[in-house]
């Protein structure tokens, strides 16, 4: 049976991360980020040419929040700075997980659960949506009343031509996202609301999200309360938002899985091509032309091909 109730989110403790030894999460690896996390203002560092963030973790029994730095050491963390939340999911029915898990490209088990804004929509679709929202707002509707919170704001979910998008104003000038457009400050950006992938820890029956999903910072500066703040954010906000339309993902699990695979592939190809381009400037034009066409492929997949998902009220 599909797990629908009693799902519990938390940040992984150091002990749990160490026990994820197969997943190699703690050996000097910073966390891969979604673009939503990037745009929500996460502090990042370049590792092998990719942007990676510092994830929240803690020792069990100790109230303070910690993080792994890029050498794999545990450090204390100041919660008022923006680090990334990579949630851990507990109380999942593992019979369901075993039935539905699939191996991903790195040979790790992966399962799909819940939806969240993660990656930016392609340029053609962004333009269409922006036009639609100014010219004919009634064409866009948010029938479910679903919202996602970003800092202290809430953004609505819009339904356009059978797919879900959410509009966000960027706050970080010069951000380059995967659709290779550079964003000035306060540009309107559209994010796809897509299925969330979780890595499976078979020994301890835990799931940890594949990407760091969103940044978190707390203005409360009372000692030892930071973990409580973060936990309440996870329970009160993120838990609801991740699984608010869980029935959709359940009904279209095969499609969602394909959506995730394609998304991953596009991100992978673009990132690798970016690296190649940076290291070999002499073949810049050729690689740029390839990248343009890859973007074209992505656009077409998003526009015409990607199976349409119905919203269930």
């Amino acid at each position: 049976m599909f797990p629908t109730s009693n799902l519990k989110l938390s940040v992984p403790s150091v002990e749990q991360l160490v026990s994820f030894s197969d997943l190699k999460l703690n050996e000097g690896n910073l966390t891969p980020l979604t673009q939503f996390a990037l745009i929500s203002g996460v502090r990042y560092q370049f590792q092998h040419g990719h942007k990676r963030g510092f994830l929240y973790t803690h020792y069990e029994g100790e109230g303070k929040l910690k993080t792994f730095d890029d050498t794999g050491k545990v450090k204390n963390i100041d919660c008022s700075k923006e680090n990334v939340v990579r949630p851990l999911l507990q109380n999942v029915d593992f019979a369901w997980v075993d039935a539905n898990k699939r191996k991903n490209n790195e040979g790790l088990w992966e399962v799909i659960l819940g939806r969240y804004p993660q990656f930016v929509a392609s340029i053609a679709i962004q333009d269409e949506l922006t036009k639609a929202i100014y010219v004919d707002p009634y064409e866009l509707s948010s029938p479910t009343g679903v919202t996602y919170s970003l800092g202290h704001c809430k953004v609505a979910l819009y339904h356009y031509k059978g797919k879900d998008y959410t509009p966000i104003y960027t706050n970080d000038p010069g951000t380059v996202l995967s659709n290779s457009r550079t964003y000035a400050s306060e540009d309107l950006t559209w994010f796809k609301v897509s299925p969330v992938a979780w890595l499976v820890d078979e020994k301890n029956h835990l799931l940890i999200s594949k990407y760091g999903l969103v940044s978190f910072s707390s203005s409360v500066k009372v000692k030892d309360y930071e973990l409580n703040c973060l936990n309440s954010f996870l329970e009160m906000t993120l838990n609801k938002e991740l699984f608010q339309n869980i029935a959709e993902t359940n009904n279209h699990l095969a499609l969602s899985r394909k959506e995730c695979t394609l998304q991953d592939d596009f991100i992978f190809v673009q990132e690798r091509l970016n690296l190649l381009r940076a290291s070999h400037p002499e073949s810049l034009e050729l690689i740029t032309s390839i990248q343009e066409r890859v973007t074209g492929m992505e656009e077409k997949v998003q526009k015409d091909y990607m199976p349409k998902i119905k919203v269930i009220k």
Binding site: Y134, G174, T182, R272, L276, H280, R293, V294, M297
Partner: protein, 334 residues
């Protein structure tokens, strides 16, 4: 590739009232399209703005005054190209706020350009048009000050009139940076003014008498297939005085300074490297994109054997994407 091009200012009749909209067969509900939208280059060289609005994605757009070659009485007619496109003003020869929105007359129109309809936009020649984004301005300034741009000139030049001085052209060299070309334009100077009134397309204000980096890009031209002419989609340039003369006679246009500027400066500037680009009619499909990407990746691998390690995983992923899409396409078709 293109021979015998003539460049001119538009006739007043071309612009008369609503005729301007009709003769270009533009979208009738959208008269904005027929009006003279200013490029950043035009703003920087001192174009006067008659109307400003924001587009749906919050980008500012300015509309300016268009110079014509028509002489009414003893004055030059210029079009105050507001949205309604119907106001006219006379022109003192030494003022230089009017915008040049040139017209191209091509010999044997259909042979060189093929059969084209009025809805199409043709890209011909290159010209500095839109300012580089804010962070690049800073980067380029730094590169320039450190002398790193010195050996990156391309040998091309673009000329404009500095602060409305009659015959002195500023020749700005073209620099190549990150595979794009830029020139540095010194913004127009006006008395009692420190800051521009109108923001550039990158959303930033500029100081007067200050260098702004402008990117060189292909120039879009609208087609009038009946008259067999092309008219620039945007107002390209301002700051060129018509002629230092107060009264004109009907035949004076051919001997004016501005005609000289168009023929001997603007035309050679536009076609330093001749290229004809037409907006493609049919968009590439997923399959054609896929074959292109695969071919080019193969080419990269041939020419750079040291890439193969990095390229193999990319190729694998691209192939898998194609497989997934192909399978489901067939299903959808059924």
């Amino acid at each position: 590739m293109i021979k015998n091009v003539q460049i001119n200012l538009p006739d007043l009749t071309l612009y008369t009232g609503y005729k301007a909209i009709d003769c270009f067969n533009l979208e009738k509900n959208n008269p904005k399209k027929a009006s003279n939208i200013l490029t950043d280059m035009a703003l920087l060289t001192g174009a006067r703005v008659s109307y400003q609005y924001y587009t749906y994605d919050h980008k500012p757009e300015q509309i300016g005054y268009t110079l014509t070659r028509t002489i009414c009485g003893d004055h030059i007619a210029i079009v105050n190209d507001s949205i309604r496109n119907e106001v006219y003003a006379s022109y003192e020869g030494s003022d230089c706020f009017g915008t040049i929105r040139p017209i191209l007359q091509v010999d044997s129109f259909e042979e060189t350009l093929g059969t084209i309809s009025n809805e199409e936009v043709i890209y011909l020649g290159n010209y500095p048009q839109w300012a580089a984004p804010g962070y690049l301005q800073w980067e380029l300034n730094q590169q320039f000050n450190e002398g790193k741009l010195k050996d990156k000139t391309t040998g091309e030049y673009f000329s404009y009139c500095l602060n409305g001085s009659t015959l002195v052209h500023q020749d700005a060299p073209v620099y190549r940076y990150q595979n794009k070309k830029y020139i540095c334009v010194i913004s127009h100077y006006e008395k009692d003014k420190d800051l521009s009134r109108y923001p550039l397309s990158n959303g930033e204000d500029y100081l007067v008498n200050q260098g702004v980096w402008v990117e060189i890009s292909p120039v879009p031209w609208m087609v009038d297939s009946e008259r067999k002419i092309l008219i620039s989609k945007y107002g390209l340039l301002a700051g060129v005085p018509y002629h230092p003369q107060l009264r004109f006679k009907p035949d004076d246009y051919e001997s004016t300074h501005i005609k000289d500027f168009l023929d001997n400066v603007l035309l050679p500037n536009l076609f330093q490297k001749e290229e004809v680009k037409k907006v493609p009619k049919c968009e590439p499909t997923f399959q054609s994109d896929y074959t292109f990407v695969k071919e080019r990746l193969g080419l990269l691998r041939l020419t750079h054997p040291e890439f193969s390690e990095a390229l193999d995983p990319i190729l694998k992923r691209v192939e898998r994407m194609n497989e997934i899409v192909k399978k489901d396409y067939q299903k959808i078709k059924k």
